[in-house]
Amino acid sequence: MATQLKNSPLNFTWPEEGFTRVPYWVYTAPEIYAREQEVVFGGSAYSFIGFECEIPNTGDFRATKVGSKPVIYTRDETGQVRVFANRCAHRGVQFCYETHGKGKTEFICPYHQWTYNLHGETIAIPFRRGLKKQGGMPKDFDMKQHRLQELKVATYNGTIFASFDHGMPSFEEYLGPKMLHWVNRVFNGRPLKVLGYQRQRLRSNWKLMFENIKDPYHASLMHVFLVSFSLFRADNPSKVQLDGTGLHGVQISQRGEQKHDEGTEDIRQNIAHLKLANPNMLQPEKEYPGEATVVMQTIWPNLIIQQQSNTLAMRQIQTVSPQEFELHWTYFGYADESEEMTMKRLRQANLMGPAGFVSADDSEVMEATQFGVANYPEAKAVVEMGGRDFEDTDHMVTESMIRGFYSGYRKIMGL
């Protein structure tokens, strides 16, 4: 993937219909993938990194990825969160072997023990001055010029985002007030706690994950479990909102009654009579103002914020190859919540993740999409549900957010 050269033109032509079509080569071409690493994940965007509560103290750290690029996040002695490429300034070693840890005062690369403080500055190079007057680095070698690559960090009410572009505006500006409103709903300043992780690798292009979650249309049709228990129904009050770029979006909906009517007549597999043998798995409790019970927000380029009833999770997208991505789920709650509420979240977690009563459908269909499109590069998707433009709607019967996504994607990719 390293062969893409900066600014070399991509020999691909987007269908003339524009963002109501998605050409299938966009899910498979190595050149596209390499360019995405460069201008999407390596470019001017805030990628989700993790939570502040995962690294509460100075020297706590975790490893993650921005796209395919390994990074670590840690907290320095001033309490500031720092994000660095997990790549030694000397000869590139992924110097941090552990996935997480604590109590670091510095990071030492195992290879030659170049040592970095919690600001990513190189503070020690063994034998820099040589040994017994022999060897060592050149006199004019400037350690300041050889430090860990740092990312610009934005923390927001306990969440951590970062960008390889230090010219980025503030996170608030990046998201804009409309999107920020929904972020504020869950991340309202209340201290957070992590309940655990789930991770899965899909043989699917990463963009299909966004298409999936930006697509309320499917939720009311494919997810028999959701629909049967009316956790999500097309005919429940609901809306879709996008930011100006189309890259960020949110779908808002509310739970209904279990029933069979217009909303479900189109849904062949709806099982109105379905009952749970152990109902305690689904006894949601209202915890946010307003009627919305489901808010799924997508933040470019790698995050889905999931609030489905009481199950809260960040779904972070990591890319592996043109035809593989990983989904890393971090489930969370609030530090000061009751044990009962935590238990509700853990029980409702059965809906989500690699074995989720709902999400399993999605991981299966995303791979099925990749297998369907991978060998038909000349064909294309048609994305016209709800019209041919992208705008906010007061309903779920639309692919508006997908059109918005590709509108923004094409600009960034120069496609």
């Binding site: 655990g196 899965q200 043998a277 853990l346 690699p354």
Partner: protein, 172 residues
């Protein structure tokens, strides 16, 4: 032979009833696996007690004392709901699973509850694909006898394979 002679004969470090116990667990696990691999998944809850707890847990959560499980089924009801979802609501591609359960260890018995462990590997074969390792890990079990039948009061599947390949449709 009785346990004692066995021990004198072979220096066996285990009383014979521990042997029989492990043998029962071996047979139980074989039947359990066959139910999932070749049998009727709807019968899977019958391997558990009424108040059983079944969890599939990423090893990292277990090691960090994080409470989240990937599957969390409470009681026979929770197990039944899982089987209903598998057979009625989940939209998943067909696949074959095959369980390999080995290294069974009986850790002890308190007041009728037998604590045991085993290593498990589940390999998965998707149509038109080669067989791959879906999950490898450890069972943390609590068994009780209901009459002459062993039942699981607890099965925690702590999985090393933290990066799940696609989807977990059937239990481990």
């Amino acid at each position: 032979m009785d346990a004692k002679t066995a021990n004198t004969k072979t220096g066996s470090s285990k009383p014979s009833d521990a042997r029989a116990l492990r043998a029962d667990i071996y047979d139980f696990n074989s039947a359990y696996a066959a139910c999932i691999d070749d049998g009727d998944i709807m019968l899977w809850p019958d391997f558990f007690t009424e108040d059983a707890v079944y969890k599939v847990i990423p090893r990292e959560n277990w090691d960090q004392n994080l409470p989240l499980a990937t599957i969390f089924a409470e009681g026979r009801g929770g197990l039944i709901d899982r089987t209903v979802a598998i057979t009625k609501t989940t939209v998943a591609r067909p696949r074959y699973l095959r369980h390999f359960i080995s290294n069974i260890r009986v850790l002890g018995t308190d007041t009728g509850v037998i604590r045991a462990e085993a290593n498990y590997m589940v390999v998965e074969t998707m149509p038109t694909e080669v067989t791959r390792i879906l999950s490898a890990g450890r069972y943390l079990d609590k068994f009780v006898y209901e009459g002459k039948e062993l039942k699981l009061k607890q099965r925690f599947c702590i999985y090393d394979s933290e990066i799940v390949p696609a989807t977990i449709v059937y239990p481990f």
